[in-house]
Point group: C2
Chain length 420, copies 2
């Protein structure tokens, strides 16, 4: 593919169409405060899938689903039997979600395919636009359910049996969703993929703060969650001298302060958050007998994540102030590094198109995580306002959305034409 | 009064009778776990008052009440017109209270009067055994209601209009209580008192830990309560760098750690407690947007209490970590010092009776606080198991209860015979 052709593909991206489709999809599950409530496998999810399938059908792209309901919409390539290049993201939202998280990756992918068709461009490999089932996990845990089942990281049968708070199973909700957005094709879990690239809003403040339009994502940082429970002794706040106390909250304060020191780093790369805190009996004049807090620790480097997380128990022990405590690790997810070739392709494309860009770490997890072990994978980030997501306030600028779709289209064309 | 007579009064204290009466009163409002639920102005309060009045009547002691329902049971003196010496405490308990908190001061006072009668001892001044209304404040706030109204620190009309959680007023509940424990006599609020002395379990661990039977209470420490609210900004735990966060709980940790340093003292006299803590949105992967904590600060010295409390806002400001915050002082109660003459009398009596003793600060507040401005006042503490009170586990040893009643009887006799 010559340089002229690449430029014209990027130019064929229709920013107005891309924006309009976001606004049309946002009506499905629209909230009074400008957000979207379109939880996984809800009637709204079915309507959104049907709307997407309608747009695809108008271009002759045909959908198929796998057993967990991941939807694959194919733009054929010259080599019909070849493993496809896959792009996409998810259509489900948090209960008070926004118009862009996930949706952008699907619609930017569709826009890239449509721009190719507008140009009459043929690729060697087929390209599949994927809608992963239930990325958010707010109705049915866990998050990134569809991509995890596809990759074999979650068992299909147990996942289909998962129930929401109302007692409805994934199996039943999925049947209703597929009935509302029917496709004929069926695909197996884990079929071969040539390459995977996903566009997404950053969900963080870095691109906006540094004035960059395009983030070439190098890695989804690893995550370790811990629950720390401290047991002291309730006592009268007026009569009990400090030296005779076993104050569970005072121990929690000492532990958290020490953990903040442990995780402080010059480059501000470590993410350390104490987000949930409980104290009992929680009475102003009673020394707390119990305190509980969570630690959310993230880092892009597996060794650093291991080293820091493994020190948490010792730091707590050194600051227990006479209390008993337990440290339980509740989640551990290793960093997932993207293909250097795809990171380079994103960076080179952005540079060629004159779009400001940087390499960036993904702080949140994404469906792309489960592709990293299966094929060359990557992600493209665009800025979102003040880094806000999972919120009805979530916002993104049309020019950034267009820029991201241009880079995505160019990289997809490159991947689907590259030699095996 | 000669030394022999004093010795015989102490010897006339009947420890078995004193213990038995505790056990009889403990049946009124007894809980399944061995505690007592006898909240102020409840039917149980009425029954307890009636039981006490029955024991008093058997000795010819007559009861009267003031407008807030404080009950005064008189043992007459030679000088019928003189202001009485007053002793007593309260019969109401916390919802899950014990058999001794308050009750001990009333029954030790009754035992002292009965021992005087057993000996045929006549005092110059009358002695009133008082049952203060609603010391605990658990049904009707505030605590020490009866003694505060008596002393003019709370207005009668507004206090009578106070309602419990079910909407019942103090006025109506008091009428029902007095109907269940009727007395003919009426007394005004704030009548002159010659001297006041109250026996009580320590509600703290110091006497037990130091092996002393008698505490001569020098002061009820002062108290300041503060509510600190911190407003930061919610953010994604995975994507938001530490330097861009305004983490309300991280600020709370820094503030509490700094306040612990501020209030640390060599003598372990300062009482500093963070007992209530709230965090929002309280989700493991969201940086807290709001944190709230209470400070309970106590000290026996008014100047120290003022100095420490006045520094709280500045310490919070120095540790706010970019968050906004407010510090509200919700309660302030100055230290209340007892009469040195009465402290000396308690100490001298304990020494003479061969009872181990020490001077001690009261960490909790008591009805005696409102007497300190009105007449020479004092308190006698006895140990309680592990310093526990306001608990169904509350316990005290019969030999300590007897020892306290002996000291109380001797000091009452001394006060009621002393020259004007």
């Amino acid at each position: 593919m010559g340089n002229g052709e690449k430029t014209s593909l990027a130019s064929a991206i229709d920013g107005n169409r891309l924006w309009r489709r976001h606004m049309e999809l946002a009506r499905i599950g629209a909230t009074a405060r400008g957000g979207v409530n379109r939880q996984a496998l809800s009637p709204e999810d079915g309507k959104a899938r049907a709307m997407l399938l309608g747009w695809a059908a108008a271009r002759g792209f045909v959908g198929s689903v796998d057993p967990i309901g991941n939807l694959f919409i194919r733009r054929p390539g010259r080599d019909a039997a070849a493993a496809p290049v896959v792009t996409g993201s998810h259509l489900d939202t948090q209960p008070t979600g926004g118009k862009f998280d996930g949706i952008y990756g699907v619609l930017a992918g569709l826009e890239a395919l449509e721009a190719m068709s507008d140009l009459g461009l043929r690729t060697r490999l087929p390209i599949d636009l994927v809608v992963w089932t239930n990325e958010e996990g707010s109705r049915f845990p866990p998050t990134t359910m569809g991509s995890a089942v596809f990759a074999g990281a979650l068992p299909l049968d147990r996942t289909l049996a998962t129930r929401d708070a109302a007692g409805v199973s994934v199996d039943d909700a999925l049947a209703a969703t597929l009935a509302a957005a029917p496709v004929e094709g069926r695909r197996p879990l884990g079929f071969p993929i040539a390459a995977y690239i996903e566009a997404h809003i950053e969900q963080g403040p870095i691109l906006e703060a540094t004035g960059k339009m395009i983030g070439a994502v190098t890695v989804i940082q690893g995550l370790r969650w811990f629950s720390i429970e401290i047991l002291g002794q309730a006592a009268h706040a007026g009569t009990t001298p400090r030296r005779r106390r076993r104050d569970a909250f005072s121990a929690a304060v000492a532990m958290v302060a020490a953990l903040e020191r442990l995780t402080a780093d010059e480059t501000d790369t470590v993410r350390f958050t104490v987000g949930r805190v409980e104290v009992a009996p929680n009475s102003p004049n009673t020394v707390p007998s119990r305190a509980f807090f969570t630690v959310d620790l993230r880092h892009p480097d597996a060794a650093t994540l291991a080293r820091l997380g493994d020190q948490i128990e010792a730091v707590c022990r050194a600051n227990a102030r006479g209390c008993e405590f337990t440290v339980a690790e509740t989640i551990r997810s290793e960093p997932a590094a993207f293909s250097p070739a795809i990171v380079s392709a994103v960076t080179a494309t952005a540079r060629r198109l004159g779009l400001s860009h940087m390499e960036i770490v993904s702080g949140a997890t994404h469906d792309a995580k489960f592709m990293t072990g299966r094929c060359p994978s990557g992600m493209i980030f665009i800025p979102c306002r003040e880094g806000v997501s999972h919120s009805e306030e979530e916002d993104a600028r049309p020019e950034h959305m267009t820029a991201g779709a241009r880079v995505l289209a160019e990289v997809l064309a490159e991947l689907s034409n590259s030699a095996e």
